[in-house]
Amino acid sequence: MNLLTGPLKQAGAFFAMALDVLRALPKRPFQTKEFIQQCWFIASVTIVPTALVSIPFGAVIALQLGTLTRQLGAQSFTGAASVLAVVREASPIVTALLIAGAGGSAICADLGSRKIREELDAMEVLGISPIQRLVVPRVLAAMLVAVLLNGLVSVVGVAGGYFFNVVIQGGTPGAYLASFTALAQLADLWTSEIKALLFGAVAALVASYKGLTAGGGPKGVGDAVNQSVVITFMFLFVINFVVSAIYFQVVPQKV
């Protein structure tokens, strides 16, 4: 009984909170200061690791594709394939991992420690909704930063791929650049950004939910952070699959 209803209750409570966040979105006054602070905070904990992760990520893709295209005799399409791989899949996934791992865990720890110090209760008693005051700015900030980070990862990943293909593997720069748009199209970039937007929202929502429901002292906050990262990862890979599947149904591919 509890094995079945437990997870369902959690899921229900999570969606109820997500709905509350949606309802609190248009409420004034909008917490501009908190929003800017959170943007800055999330960006500051994610930018450097993201850049550092995306260089080897782009390089690995370039290495794999460089070898594969040579085996297939399609060296001239190395650039095309690597842009596609980086923009469509690699960059939203890298963004997701860092937004959830660095940004989400920080949000969850922050809200969770406020919860156990009874700060959130005090806020509610003072007639302020923590959802409107704290969660909404965090969700919006995570979404904005995810979109921007996704752009950064795409650029750094493609540049890393170019460097490894041309400099390390001795590919032709001209062929790499010329084939850039052979397969990729603008819709790929849009999808990539939409994915990042969703990932940012989900990461912040799960982190906030876990933070707001943390209990049982400092250990409870640690557990909440742990769970929020794991749950977010699972959500993100499912969303990634669903959005990709929809994309291939909706957007006609270049032939």
Binding site: R117, E119, D121, A122, V125, L126, I128
Partner: protein
């Protein structure tokens, strides 16, 4: 003038664990009440239920004709403006200075100018003895100061009801006496309804007008201070006199063997009822009653030596009245 809180048949459980069952009481307006109980009997849960932070399973909480249990979220935020709540550790916002913490409710709920806010904040900070500490962050001060800052924040909107969660936890006896004196003086000044949740018997014996005792998942007794202090009811008697003989054991309830072993033992006599703590300037509070009035009206003979001193054999209690009497 404070408002009454009318609690009817309140029941709360977490999952299959029942916290308390069928709690019915009325907190009289403008009076100080204390809610007592052994550790882990859901005193803090009771307090959080009273402000609507937790939903009870059954029952009603009527304030000014509104039932808090069935009220909509938006209306609940309105009713909460009647409340000031002091949480255990003060629950200050860690990222704000003490000044901003105390000013927070004013900035959120009133259209007062910054200079008006400044006057009110400085007045309340002075009232709780925190002048000069305005720029400190909550992390930089002691637990007692955090509590007093939390009290200043709870007072800033002139609440009708003040709920206080364990004011004495983590405070030394001297600071506890000071904070108790502060509650009495505040009650005289603002006439709000006070509910103090504690398990400190010194506080319970000398501060309140009414005492309630939560024990074994129900409300054992609620009534005037003198009624509980002169009560022969085993649970009440054991708790208010901090004895090991009685139904309360180390783990909530004693088993039958332990109780049977105690049955032959003679209970120590009830200690005298101490005088209630007075205001520091000696002016009577509106809710104050003459010492022994309840006992006389109800034909109860108080234990010998009652109403003669403010400490009545219990150390660490303010003795200003004794000094006033001998002078």
């Amino acid at each position: 003038m404070g408002v009454a809180i009318d609690v009817q048949g309140l029941t709360k459980s977490f999952g299959s664990q029942q916290i308390w069952n069928d709690v019915t009481l009325t907190l009289p307006p403008g009076e100080i009440s204390v809610m007592l109980g052994p550790s882990g009997t859901g005193k803090s849960v009771f307090l959080k239920t009273l402000v609507g932070l937790l939903k009870p399973d059954k029952g009603s909480i009527i304030i000014n004709g509104d039932d808090l249990v069935t009220l909509k979220e938006a209306d609940l935020y309105e009713v909460r403006k009647l409340f000031g709540v002091l949480f255990q550790d003060g629950a200050l916002f860690g990222s704000m200075s003490l000044y901003d913490n105390v000013a927070f409710p004013l900035r959120e709920h009133t259209k007062k100018s910054e200079s008006d806010i400044r006057n009110i904040v400085l007045e309340k900070m002075d009232l709780v003895g925190l002048s000069g500490a305005e720029d400190k962050l909550p992390g930089e001060i002691s637990g007692g100061m955090r509590k007093r800052a939390g009290l200043a924040r709870a007072l800033v909107l002139d609440p009708e009801i003040l709920l206080i969660d364990e004011p004495d936890s983590g405070l030394d006896p001297v600071r506890t006496s000071y904070i108790n004196q502060l509650f009495i003086d505040l009650n005289a000044q603002i006439d709000a309804t006070f509910l103090i949740v504690t398990h400190d018997i010194n506080t319970a014996r000398t501060v309140p007008d009414n005492i309630g005792l939560l024990y074994h998942r129900h409300l054992a007794m609620f009534g005037p201070r003198e009624m509980l202090l002169s009560s022969e009811e085993p649970v009440v008697r054991q708790f208010l006199n901090a004895q090991t003989i009685g139904p309360i054991g180390m783990s909530e309830e004693k088993d039958a063997d332990e109780l049977a072993a105690e049955s032959g033992q003679e209970l120590p006599p009830l200690p005298p009822i101490p005088l209630q703590l007075g205001t520091s300037d000696g002016t009577p509070r509106r809710a104050e009653k003459a010492p022994g009035e309840w006992c006389r009206e109800n034909g109860v003979t108080p234990p010998p030596g009652s109403f003669e001193s403010g400490n009545a054999g219990v150390p660490g209690v303010n003795q200003s009245r004794d000094e006033a009497a001998t002078r």
